[in-house]
C-alpha cells in the first residue's frame, strides 16, 4: 500500500525494520524522520523535489508509510483529513518553492478548522536563502499567519527536536497546523544527535480545567434558564468530549444544536438533537438559537456562517462559552460566563456543578414543534430530474453509522450535511472555515487511510471535483475503497444560487456545460465509473459502487435548478431564514 524500502523477504522484513529503528542518526534528515517516528506518525502525504530529497532519502530506510500525492494541495488536505479522523497530527511533505506554496491552501484550511497537522517543507541551502535562488520562497513568512507556528530549522543537531516540537504543538491545546522549513544543507548535514522526546515549547501553556467558582456560577445560570440550549462545536470532537456531552445533555435534558464543524459531536437521531445551526442549518436549530435565553457554547469560535449578523445572534441569551483557547472568548460574541479549559474536563466539571436540571418542559416542547413546523424535506413534484437530497438520503440509509463522509465545497456540501444522518464523531470531514473547493478528493484519501475499516464516501460538486481530480490516481494506486459521488449540476451551483438570489440571475462564470464525463474520467484513471440520471437507479448504483472494491465515481446528474434551503442570507438574522426563493425577497 505504501512505498518505501523495496520489498524484502517476509521473514527478514521485521528484522530489517528493527535494525532501521536502532541505527544511529547520522544526518539532519535522519533526525527529522526519527522525530516523526518517535512522535507516532504513521502516514506521510507528499511530493518529491530537490530541496526535500535528503529527507525522502532518509525515509527510504524507515517504516513510515509514504503516500505519493498527485499535487501538494492534495497532500495537505489528505494530512488534514487524516488528522480529523485519527485525532493525531497528519503529516505532509513538499519541496521548496512551488511545492511549499502548493501546500499553503491545505495549511490555511487546517488552521481555520483547528485540525492537527504538521507540514515539512524543503528549503534551498542556508547560504542561498534570501538570494532568490532556484525554487526559493519565504515559506516561513508565507505560512506564519496560517499556522500555530512556523519553524525555520537552522542546525542539523537540533532539526529533529524542531520537528518533534512542531508535532507536539500541532496536537496540544487547540489543535492546528505547524510547519518546519528544512534547508537542504541542514538535512544533509552530519549529526549524531538523536532527537529527544517531543515537547511543546516552554512558552505554550494550556489550561485543562476551568476555575471551579466560574463553573459553579455558569452552572447556576444554566440551571436557572427557561430556554436553555447547548451549542456544540468542532472543539467537542477535537477534545473527544462527545460522550461527555451526551451524558450531560441527557441528564439535564437540554436540547443540543451543533455547529457545522461540530456535526457528529451529538447524535442527530437523539430526541434532544436539533441538528446544526447557521446559514444552511435546520430551521428548528436556528429558531432555537434565536430564542434561547441561555446558550452553553462549547468549542466554537462563533464563525459568521454560524452567527449571521452578531446583533441578532442569540440576542436573548446569556452566553456560557467553553473553549481551550482564551483568545476565542468574547472575540465575536461576548461571553457572560467564560470557561477556559478542555471541553471534556469542563463538561465533567459542569456536570458535577449543576444544582438541578433547568425547568424547561415548555421549551423542549417548543423545540419539537419547530421540528414539525420546519421539516428538513425537499420538493419532489415528479421525482425528475434527480434530486441531490434523495441521493444523499438514500446513501445514508444503506451505510453503517460509522461511515465517514467527506465533501468539496458548495451546494453538495450542504446537502451532504443536511440529508445525511450523523451519529458519531469524526465521521464528517469537510472544509468549513476556509471553504476550500477541491478538498474532497484528497480528504477522502486521508480519511480512508486513517480509518481503513470504515466506509468512506465523498460527496463532491463538479466544480470542486475538477479542482483535485488528479487525486483519483492516488486512490487507484493505493487501492482505496472510496465511493465518490459527484452531484453534477454542470455549474458552480452555490455561486449560481447566489447570483439567482442576489444578482438578478446574472450567471457570470458559474455555468460549466463543458465539464467531462466523470464516469469515463474515472475509468481513465483506473477507477470504476457510474453514470446516474434517474431516481429509480439510485439505490442499485450506490450498492454497485459500494460493492466495488476500490475507488469508484458516481457521476450523478442532478436537477440543475435545485437550490439549498433553509438559508440565512449573509450577515442576516438566524430566525429569518428563507425556506424558498420567495422568502429571500421578503428578507
Amino acid at each position: 500500500m505504501s512505498e518505501h524500502a523495496p520489498p524484502a523477504e517476509d521473514d527478514t522484513a521485521d528484522e530489517q525494520s528493527a535494525d532501521a529503528e536502532q541505527a544511529p542518526v547520522t544526518t539532519g534528515a535522519q533526525s527529522v524522520v526519527r522525530a516523526l517516528e518517535n512522535a507516532g506518525a504513521e502516514y506521510i502525504f507528499g511530493v518529491q523535489g530537490g530541496a526535500i530529497m535528503p529527507v525522502y532519502d532518509a525515509l527510504y530506510d524507515s517504516d513510515l508509510n509514504h503516500v505519493t500525492m498527485a499535487h501538494e494541495q492534495g497532500a495537505s488536505h489528505a494530512a488534514d483529513a487524516f488528522g480529523i479522523v485519527s485525532g493525531k497530527p497528519g503529516v505532509c511533505f513538499a519541496t521548496s518553492g512551488p511545492g511549499a506554496t502548493n501546500l499553503v491552501t491545505g495549511i490555511a484550511d487546517a488552521n481555520m478548522d483547528s485540525d492537527p497537522m504538521i507540514a515539512l517543507t524543503g528549503q534551498v541551502p542556508t547560504e542561498f536563502v534570501g538570494n532568490d535562488a532556484f525554487q526559493e520562497t519565504d515559506t516561513v513568512g508565507i505560512t506564519q499567519p496560517v499556522t500555530k507556528e512556523s519553524y525555520f530549522a537552522s542546525d542539523s543537531d537540533t532539526v529533529g527536536d524542531d520537528v518533534g516540537e512542531a508535532f507536539a504543538l500541532a496536537d496540544a491545546g487547540r489543535q492546528g497546523p505547524t510547519l518546519v522549513d528544512l534547508p537542504k544543507d541542514i538535512t544533509q548535514g552530519e549529526t549524531d544527535v538523536e532527537p529527544g522526546e517531543a515537547t511543546t515549547p516552554d512558552t505554550y501553556e494550556v489550561q485543562e480545567e476551568a476555575d471551579d467558582e466560574d463553573v459553579q456560577e455558569a452552572a447556576e445560570a444554566l440551571a436557572a434558564a427557561d430556554r436553555p440550549v447547548i451549542l456544540s462545536g468542532g472543539g467537542v470532537i477535537k477534545a473527544d468530549a462527545s460522550s461527555a456531552l451526551r451524558e450531560f445533555a441527557t441528564e439535564y435534558e437540554i436540547p443540543v444544536i451543533t455547529t457545522m464543524p461540530g456535526i457528529g459531536s451529538f447524535p442527530e437521531d437523539h430526541e434532544l438533537s436539533l441538528e446544526w445551526a447557521g446559514m444552511h442549518g435546520t430551521g428548528y436549530a436556528n429558531m432555537a438559537i434565536s430564542n434561547t435565553d441561555c446558550l452553553l457554547a462549547i468549542g466554537t469560535r462563533f464563525d459568521d456562517r454560524l452567527t449571521g449578523g452578531v446583533d441578532s445572534f442569540a440576542p436573548d441569551a446569556e452566553v456560557i462559552h467553553v473553549d481551550i483557547d482564551p483568545a476565542e472568548i468574547s472575540k465575536n460574541i461576548y461571553a457572560d460566563y467564560p470557561l477556559i479549559g478542555d471541553a471534556r474536563e469542563v463538561l465533567r466539571q459542569l456536570f458535577d456543578a449543576m444544582p438541578r436540571a433547568p425547568d424547561a418542559d415548555e421549551w423542549r416542547e417548543q423545540c419539537q414543534t419547530w421540528k414539525s413546523e420546519y421539516p428538513m424535506t425537499y420538493d419532489t413534484p415528479d421525482d425528475e430530474p434527480l434530486k441531490p437530497q434523495y441521493v444523499v438520503e438514500t446513501f445514508s440509509d444503506v451505510t453503517p453509522d460509522d461511515t465517514i463522509v467527506c465533501t468539496g465545497v458548495g451546494q453538495h456540501q450542504m446537502w451532504a450535511s443536511q440529508f445525511w444522518e450523523y451519529t458519531e464523531p469524526r465521521t464528517w470531514v469537510s472544509s468549513h472555515g476556509l471553504g476550500t473547493m477541491g478538498y474532497g478528493v484528497p480528504a477522502a484519501i486521508g480519511a480512508k487511510l486513517a480509518a481503513p475499516d470504515q466506509e468512506v464516501v465523498c460527496f463532491d460538486g463538479d466544480g470542486s471535483f475538477l479542482m483535485t481530480v488528479q487525486g483519483l490516481s492516488v486512490a487507484v494506486r493505493e487501492q482505496l475503497d472510496i465511493t465518490y459521488v459527484v452531484l453534477n449540476n454542470e455549474a458552480v451551483g452555490m455561486v449560481r444560487q447566489w447570483q439567482d438570489g442576489f444578482y438578478e440571475g446574472r450567471r457570470m462564470a458559474s455555468e460549466y456545460p463543458w465539464i467531462p464525463q466523470f464516469d469515463k474520467l474515472a475509468e481513465a484513471f483506473g477507477a470504476r465509473g457510474f453514470r446516474l440520471e434517474a431516481q429509480e437507479n439510485v439505490e442499485e448504483t450506490i450498492q454497485a459502487a459500494r460493492e466495488y472494491d476500490g475507488p469508484s465515481v458516481i457521476d450523478a446528474h442532478i436537477d440543475p435548478g435545485e437550490n439549498v434551503f433553509p438559508m440565512v442570507p449573509s450577515g442576516g438574522d438566524n430566525g429569518k431564514f428563507a425556506l424558498k426563493e420567495d422568502h429571500l425577497e421578503e428578507l
Binding site: 441569551a317 429569518k576 422568502h583
Partner: protein
C-alpha cells in the same frame, strides 16, 4: 427554480426581544454602550529570535488592530527582547490583542501597563544651521540638546512623552526642519513591579 421547504414565513415566526451590539455584547441596561476606543500600552517579553518582530507586527495588521507605535529592543537577558506596543482600540479589541499576542509561540509574557507608567520617546531633529543659538534655546525649553552641528545644520535630541515631542517638532518648524526621526514609545511600570513578576 424548484420549490423549497414548508413552514411559516420569516415574518410569521416567534421573534426574540433582545439585540446585541456590533461587538456581540447583549444590549441590556448594564452594557448598553458601545465601547469607545482608548489607548493601551502593551508590554511584551518575547524570545529574542529572528522573525519575532514580523510575527508580532503581522498579527496586528492581520487582526486590524490600530497600532500607534511599536518599539523593540534587547533586555538584560540575551535570550529575550522587550516590545512596547501602543494601540488604540475599544475595550474588546484591547483584550483580543493581548490574548492573541499571548498565543504567539515566541511570546513569553504580555501585560498592559498602567496609564501612569513611564513612557518615553526619543526624537532626533535636524534643522537648518543658520541660527544655532536660537535652536539651542528652543532645545533647552524641551530639555533637549544639540548633539551635532555643522555650518548647514544642527541636530537636536529630545526625549519625553509623545505630546512633548509633538510640541518640540512643532516648535522647531521655525528653523526649517530637514529631517525628523522618532522611536515610538518605550515604557516601564513605575515602582518595583516588573513584567517578570507581574502575572
Amino acid at each position: 427554480m424548484t420549490g423549497g421547504m414548508p413552514g411559516p414565513s420569516p415574518h410569521d415566526r416567534m421573534q426574540p426581544e433582545g439585540r446585541r451590539n456590533s461587538q456581540g455584547i447583549r444590549i441590556d441596561p448594564e452594557a448598553e454602550a458601545t465601547h469607545e476606543p482608548r489607548q493601551a500600552v502593551l508590554s511584551a517579553l518575547v524570545k529574542h529570535k529572528p522573525g519575532v518582530l514580523s510575527e508580532v507586527s503581522a498579527l496586528f495588521s492581520r487582526r486590524q488592530f490600530n497600532i500607534e507605535s511599536l518599539t523593540v529592543g534587547p533586555t538584560v537577558d540575551a535570550d529575550t527582547a522587550r516590545m512596547t506596543i501602543l494601540i488604540e482600540e475599544p475595550e474588546p479589541g484591547i483584550d483580543q490583542a493581548k490574548k492573541q499576542l499571548r498565543k504567539l509561540v515566541p511570546v513569553i509574557e504580555v501585560t498592559e501597563l498602567d496609564p501612569t507608567a513611564l513612557r518615553r520617546e526619543l526624537a532626533l531633529i535636524k534643522v537648518g544651521g543658520e541660527k544655532p543659538d536660537d535652536v539651542n534655546a528652543v532645545a533647552e525649553m524641551y530639555d533637549g540638546q544639540a548633539v551635532d552641528a555643522s555650518t548647514e545644520s544642527v541636530t537636536v535630541e529630545i526625549t519625553g512623552s509623545k505630546q512633548k515631542i509633538d510640541a518640540a517638532v512643532e516648535a522647531f518648524k521655525q528653523f526649517d526642519v530637514q529631517e525628523v526621526v522618532r522611536t515610538g514609545a518605550a515604557a516601564l511600570e513605575r515602582g518595583p513591579r516588573t513584567l517578570n513578576k507581574h502575572d
